[in-house]
């Protein structure tokens, strides 16, 4: 069973989470439901720091035993940090998708975009529907 989705952040329909740091930056990762669907992750391709991404553009690639999937930027912004430890230990995403398994930190370009994302309750409902 997936862990419950923390209420301190927002979610995209593509199963990314965004945590607004309140200082114009945000941290992005994939949800626990996403890691469960992907199964064991064996490789993560991180974006270069300094890369500018528009909302919905491919940001990173996660490869599991089962498939290779794009991770999309849930908001527009510039990459200011990436989680380098994922290069050696991609399983961090399986173990702690909402914490240690974060993928990148962005400079928020357009705070209004956050309104287009789901809160934890809406995201709960979305994955409940997908499971059927």
């Amino acid at each position: 069973m997936s862990k419950s989705n923390p209420t301190d952040r927002l979610y995209s329909k593509d199963h990314e989470w965004v945590k607004d740091n309140g200082d114009g930056t945000a941290v992005v990762g994939i949800t626990d439901y996403a890691q469960e669907m992907l199964t064991d992750i064996v490789f993560v391709e991180l974006p270069p720091v300094g890369k500018k991404l528009a909302q919905g553009e491919p940001m990173a690639v996660v490869e599991s035993v089962k498939s290779v999937s794009d991770v999309y930027a849930p908001v527009t912004g510039e990459i200011i940090a990436v989680n380098k430890t994922l290069e050696e230990t991609p399983e961090l995403i399986n173990q702690d998708a909402f914490g240690e398994g974060w993928i990148a930190k962005l400079n928020l370009e357009n705070v209004a975009e956050l309104k287009s994302l789901l809160n934890a309750a809406d995201y709960d409902a979305l994955i409940k529907e997908e499971k059927h």
Binding site: D40, V42, V65, P90
Partner: protein, 479 residues
């Protein structure tokens, strides 16, 4: 089993080389010290050790000559041995690829006739035999589509790919610079006509359709699909990898396909998947003939020659002219079966697939329950829900029963998919024995799921830790 490097002993060899009777040259002088390695570290073994090593390795292999191989979408047909005999004739194997046309008349004639046979069987205006395999044929086909619109001065940036398509279809489209858009399937497993209507605009170059599709289902609305694509000026591309389901029954040309690639190595019974290279001929309708790759074979009265004199061509897509040896085998297959034999092979392939489908239906979920073509797609969902046994476990357990597992986790729209393609040459006894094994595994998944999850239990190499193998691959042997 030890590696050949592990059984190596310095100085051991399979033969003594006699003393040289020509002047000895110093290798440092002729090649240069800087290009030479001090230690090559090649294995040194006696002939008997060498023979045993590779014979033992080959015994751990599996092929269609050893047992039933229902690997869906891959059409692991029996490869008749007469094909090998014919392809080994010295006239075919001995000809230098650069021999001039006058010395290659027999081989050119075979290629020319093969093109004509394929035109007849598939109802296309012209064929090229150049591409090396299916995906390469797709690429050549999409390049022609692109050139067709370029020469008409039309800009069409996108191409439609159904969600059931083989991964090579979107890859071929993307490699040619098209944006690929996914077309949904309807609940029956066919094209969602409404979705097609909404996507098909004058920005769309065409639709890449596999028919029968990768669910093993024939597109019931094929005429309407072709009409919708053509009504917006688009072209209909056919992935003919599943052509073994309709040879002699229908022709893509008659169904209004504009381009189709074949996988000779599947449909026309030549060894593949480790057994030999592929061959991916592409057939086109009249509208696309000028764009075919060069060189093309032209017949002048009774002689044949190569010609590159086709100004609208997409150019050359491969050095020399395709995998000639594979084409000889496929040609032999067509000649030995004849029109009637090819049709009968189609009928048997479809009958066998439906036989297995009906027999296994009570034990495994069948998401698209209708008459199938040459293969059927099941889902392991029921076993996952019952006892956490996944399709990959079932596949590995089948190895213990002496079968090559079916294709699994494809097509992507079926969760826990397994895709069974028996092919036409298998007897009822073989099909029954395979079904019995599948039924026994379904039972075992209920009663003793751990056994299925631990499979294979009888192979020289037990279950791999796939996660560890992917995260920390260790593939180089070090002394």
């Amino acid at each position: 089993m030890e590696l050949i490097f592990e059984i190596s002993k310095p100085g051991r060899s399979t033969a003594d080389v006699s003393a040289s009777d020509v002047p000895i040259v110093n290798i440092d002088d002729v090649i240069g010290r800087q290009y030479l390695r001090n230690d090559l570290d090649l294995p040194e073994v006696a002939e008997i050790d060498l023979v045993r090593h590779y014979t033992n390795l080959s015994r751990r292999n599996f092929g269609v000559d050893l047992g039933f191989y229902p690997l869906g979408s891959c059409t692991m047909k029996y490869n008749p041995k007469i094909n090998e005999n014919v392809a080994a004739l010295p006239g075919f194997t001995g000809l230098h690829p650069n021999a001039s046309d006058e010395f290659a008349q027999g081989n050119l004639q075979l290629l020319y006739e093969m093109q004509k046979y394929l035109c007849g069987i598939f109802g296309m205006a012209e064929f090229t035999l150049q591409p090396a395999a299916g995906a390469h044929g797709e690429l050549a086909g999409v390049m022609m589509i692109k050139k067709y619109f370029e020469s008409k001065g039309q800009i069409r940036p996108t191409i439609l790919i159904p969600d059931t398509a083989h991964g090579t279809n979107p890859a071929s489209g993307a490699l040619c610079g098209f944006d690929t858009i996914t077309l949904r399937s309807n609940p029956e497993g066919g094209v969602d006509i409404e979705h097609l209507n909404s996507l098909m605009t004058e920005d769309v170059a065409g639709l890449m359709l596999t028919n029968p599709n990768t669910l093993g289902l024939f597109e019931r609305n094929i005429e309407q699909v072709a009409q919708i694509v053509h009504s917006k000026g688009g072209l209909l591309y056919g992935d003919g990898a599943n052509a073994n389901a309709f040879l002699g029954k229908t022709r893509p040309g008659d169904l209004d396909f504009d381009v189709i690639q074949l996988n000779l190595h599947k449909t026309f019974a030549t060894p593949h998947g480790g057994g030999g290279p592929g061959s991916g001929p592409v057939g086109v309708s009249e509208a696309l003939v000028n764009y075919l790759p060069v060189p093309r074979i032209v017949k002048n009265e009774s002689t044949y020659s190569w010609s590159a004199n086709f100004p609208d061509t997409i150019g050359r897509v491969r050095a020399f002219y395709g995998n000639f040896n594979v084409i000889v085998k496929a040609y032999t297959y067509i000649c030995s079966l004849g029109a009637e034999g090819l049709t009968r092979a189609t009928e048997m392939a479809v009958l066998n697939a439906n036989y297995i489908k009906e027999k296994l239906k009570p034990y495994y979920d069948l998401p698209y329950d209708r008459v199938c073509m040459h293969e059927s797609v099941f889902s392991g969902n029921r076993q996952v829900a019952q006892s956490g046994v996944h399709t990959s476990d079932i596949a590995k357990r089948l190895i213990d029963f002496g079968y090559h597992p079916p294709t699994i986790y494809f097509p992507l729209i079926v969760p826990e998919a397994f895709m069974i393609e028996p092919t036409e040459t298998e007897s009822k006894e073989t099909l029954d024995a395979f079904c019995d094994a599948m039924i026994a595994i379904a039972q075992e998944a209920k009663e003793n799921p751990q056994r299925v999850k631990d499979a294979p239990l009888s192979t020289p190499v037990s279950r791999l830790d796939e996660v560890l193998a992917a995260r920390k691959p260790d593939v180089c042997w070090k002394r």
